[in-house]
Symmetry: C3
Subunit: 350 residues, 3 copies
Amino acid sequence: MTTTTLAELAALVGAELRGLDPAAAAELEIDGVAALRDAGPSELSFLVDPRYAGELEGTRAAAVLLRPDQAALAGALPTLVLEDPSGAVDRLASALAPRTEGPAPGVHPSAVVDPTATLGQGVAVGPLASVGPGASLGDGVIVHAGAVVGEGATVGVGTVLHPRVVLYPHVEVGARCVLHAGVVVGSGGFGFAPTEAGWVPIPQSGTTILGDDVELGANTAVDCARLGATRVGNGVKVDNLVHVAHNVQIGDHSLIVAQSGVAGSARLGRGVVLAGQVGINGHVTLGDGVRVGGKSAVFKDVPAGREVLGIPATDKRAAIRNMRTMPRLHELERRVRELESRLEERGDSA
Amino acid sequence: MTTTTLAELAALVGAELRGLDPAAAAELEIDGVAALRDAGPSELSFLVDPRYAGELEGTRAAAVLLRPDQAALAGALPTLVLEDPSGAVDRLASALAPRTEGPAPGVHPSAVVDPTATLGQGVAVGPLASVGPGASLGDGVIVHAGAVVGEGATVGVGTVLHPRVVLYPHVEVGARCVLHAGVVVGSGGFGFAPTEAGWVPIPQSGTTILGDDVELGANTAVDCARLGATRVGNGVKVDNLVHVAHNVQIGDHSLIVAQSGVAGSARLGRGVVLAGQVGINGHVTLGDGVRVGGKSAVFKDVPAGREVLGIPATDKRAAIRNMRTMPRLHELERRVRELESRLEERGDSA
Amino acid sequence: MTTTTLAELAALVGAELRGLDPAAAAELEIDGVAALRDAGPSELSFLVDPRYAGELEGTRAAAVLLRPDQAALAGALPTLVLEDPSGAVDRLASALAPRTEGPAPGVHPSAVVDPTATLGQGVAVGPLASVGPGASLGDGVIVHAGAVVGEGATVGVGTVLHPRVVLYPHVEVGARCVLHAGVVVGSGGFGFAPTEAGWVPIPQSGTTILGDDVELGANTAVDCARLGATRVGNGVKVDNLVHVAHNVQIGDHSLIVAQSGVAGSARLGRGVVLAGQVGINGHVTLGDGVRVGGKSAVFKDVPAGREVLGIPATDKRAAIRNMRTMPRLHELERRVRELESRLEERGDSA
C-alpha cells in the first residue's frame, strides 16, 4: 500500500470534507479503502446502500464517503461528501494500491523468442517467457514471466498474458484480452472412440479463437476443436477454473462464473450468464440471454431469455419452489403413508 | 490453416467427385472441414447421420462428403462420394491443419537438464523446460516449453509433456502418454490429522504411477499416495481440471470427463466411465465397467457393470424417473395437502 | 524406493520382531509400506482397525505391524509388535521413500531474481524461477523450478513454493506455507458491471494475504480483493483445484477439500470444513466450526457449529433423510395418484 493524506484524496475525487478541520486532514495518512466493518483507522470507507447505515456506528474508518442526502447519517464521523461514492471508491483504491510496473517494453534477456516471431510496437516479453516460431504479438501485448506462446499463435493488440499462460500452436487471441495465470488455450479436445483395444483418440485438428476483450480467469482451460474452431465471442468474461470443451461456441458478452464447464459442441448465445459450478451438456444450445443458476446441470436446449436452475435445470421459479419443498420430502412420504392407512381403514370399515 | 485443392483432397481419400467438373475442382482452394451449418465457401462438410440431411440445403460448403447410398441427398451440391465419410473427415482435417513442428530433438539451450538425468534417443527438451537430477526420459519423449520434470521421475517411450506440465520427484509416467498443459502429477496428498494445535499433516510418502497410453487434460492434478502409489491404469483418458486424490487406483481403459474428482483411496475398476463434474467419495469402490452420469456424487460402492446417476448416485433408470418427477414436487405436496383436507372433511362428515 | 532390512526397520521404530529368526530378518530387504491387500513380498503392512483382521490371511506382506494385544491375530506371519503401529507406519514410509534433495540454497544460475528483491538466509531459488522487483523471501524459503514471485510480493520464513506457483504482485504469504504446483495467488477478482457496451471491469485494487501454515493444493486459485484483502487464515488447508474469490475471508484452521469454490465476499469462520465440490454463494457467512457435506451448495448464512448438506444445503440429518427418500420420489407420485383416484371413486360412490 502507498499512502497519501485525506486532504489529497478528497481533492482527487472532488469531495467536500466535513467533520474534520483542514489542517488535520492534511496530516492524516490514508493507506486503503475497505468496507465499514473491516476498515481500520488509516483507511477510508463508504456507504452506498442505506441498509448498512447501522455499520457507521462501529466503524474505525478514518472517514466515510457519503452522498449529500445521506451525509447526516455519519454523525460525528469525518465524511467526504460527493455525488457518487461508489465510483469514487474505485478511483481512491486505485490511487492507494501499490504501483506495479510489470515487464518493460522489449524482450527480457532470459526470454526465448523465436526469430521468426513477429512483435508489434511496445510489446513486453517478461523473464523466462517463450514465444514460438511464426507467432505474432500485436502492439502493446504484455507476455508475463513464464508464459508460453505456441508456434503460429496470434495475439491481438493490447492483450495481457499473465504468468504461465499457455497458448497452444496456432490459436488466435483477440485484442485487449486478459488471460490470468495458468490459463491454457487450445489444448487437445477430449474425443476418443471406443474399440476392442481401448479408447482411440479422435484427431483434434481444429483450433481455438478468442474474440476481443475476452477475460479468462486463473487456471481456466479452453480446448481446441475437432474440426473448425472452438470460439469465445467478443467481450466474454470467464472466471477461474472453468472448462470449455472442443467445438464449443460462446456468444458475445456472455459471462461464466468459476468452476463451470461447457461440454463438447455446446452453443451459448449472446449475453448468456452461467453462475458458479454449472455444467452444460454436450451439443446443448442456450439461446441469447439465458441465465443458469449456480450448481445447475443443463441437459437440454434452453430458449432465449429463459432463466433456469437445478439438476436437471428447469424454469428457475418452478425450480426454486421445488427446492424449497425438498426439505419436507421425507415428511411428505410419511404423510402419504398416513393417508394410505387412513384410507385403508375406512375401506375396511366401509 | 494450409490450403489445397478440392481435386487433391478427393484423391487423398479416394473419393469420387460429383457435381463439379474436374478443372474447376483442380482450382478450388479448400482450407478446412466444418459442420454443415458452420462451413464456409472454402470448406468441406459431410453428412453421416441422415437426420441432419435437412442441413444440406442451406450449407455454404464448397462440397460435401457422402456415402454412395446417400449421394442423391446432395442435389446440385458438389459431392465427394466414398464409403466412410466419417473417417475421411479426420484425414482431411489433419491434412488441412497447420503444421506444428514442436521442439526439435535435442535440448534447447535455454532448458536446464541436470547432468545426472538420462535421456533416450531422439528426446526433445523445449525452451525453458527443466529436468531434475536422476530423471529418466525414454526414447522419443517430448518435453515442451516450461515443463518441469522432478528429480528421479521416469517418463516412458514416446510420451509428450505439454508446456508447463509438472512431474513431482520420483513419479513414474508410462509410454505414449499425453499430458496436457498445466498437468500436475505427484503433488502431496491432502491428509491432515486434527489436533488441539490445528491440522497436522499426515506424511505423504508414496508416489504416483501412470500406466501406458494415459492422457491427462489441461490443469488436471493427480496426487501422490500416503503409502505405496496412486495408480492410473493403461489406456486411461482423463479430461481437463480433474482431481485424482492420494492412493486412488484407476483401472485400465477408464475414462474421466472434465472437472470430476476422485477422493482419497477410491478404487475404479477397468473401463469405468465418469461423465463431467462427478464426485467419487473417499474409499468407495466402483466395479469394472461402471458408468456414472454427469454431476453425480457417488457415496457408496457400485457393483460392476452398473450405470448410476444422481446426488447421491443410484440406479440410472430409477434416477432419471425421479429427476423427471422433481419438477412436480411442489405440486405433489399441494396434492397431498388437498387429499388430507378432503379426507378430513369426509372424516367430519362421516 | 530405497531399501533396508527388516531388522533395521524393527530397530528404527523400537518394535519386537516375532515369527522370524533374527538372521533372516537381517537379510530380508524391505522397500515399502502398503495396505494389507496391496502389499507385496518386499513390503511391510499393518493392522490398526481390527475390522480388517480378515485381510491378514491373504496378505503377501513380508511382515505386519501390530499392537501387542492384537499380535495373536497374525498367526504364522512375521510381525513387528509395538504400541503405535499407525505412527510407526509413517516413520517407516518416510525412511523408505526415495530421497529428494530439492533446490540447493542459493539462486540457480538460470533463475531470474531482480536485484531489488530481498532474500533471507538459506533461501533456495530453483531453475528457471523468477522473483520480481522488491519481492521479499524470508529465511529458508524454497522457490521451486519455474515458480513466479511477482514484484513486491512477500513470502514468510520456511515457506515452500512448488514448481510453477504464481504469486501476483504485492500478495503476502505467511510463514511455513506449502503452495503446490500450479497454485495462483492474487489473480484479478471477477467483477464486472453490466453496461450497454458489455461487461465493464470493476477495478480490483486489493490484495491477497495468506496466514502462516497455510497449504494450497495443486492448481488452486485465490483471487485478490476489490478493496482491502482476500484473507486466508493461519493453519488453513486447501486441497487441489479450489477457487477462492475476491474479498473472501477464511478463518483460522479451516479445511477445504478439492474442487470446492467460495464466491466473492463470503466469510468462513474458524475451523470450517468444506468437503469436496462444495459451492459457497457470494456474501454468505459460515459461523465457526460449520461443516458442509460433499457436493453441497450453500446459498444462505449458516450459524456456528452446524452441519449442512444438499443443494441447497440444509441441516445435515434432515438432508440425509430427504436424500434417502429421493429414490422413491417417482413411486411417491404414483401413490398420490392412486390415493386421488381411490378418493375420487369413493366420492362418486358416496
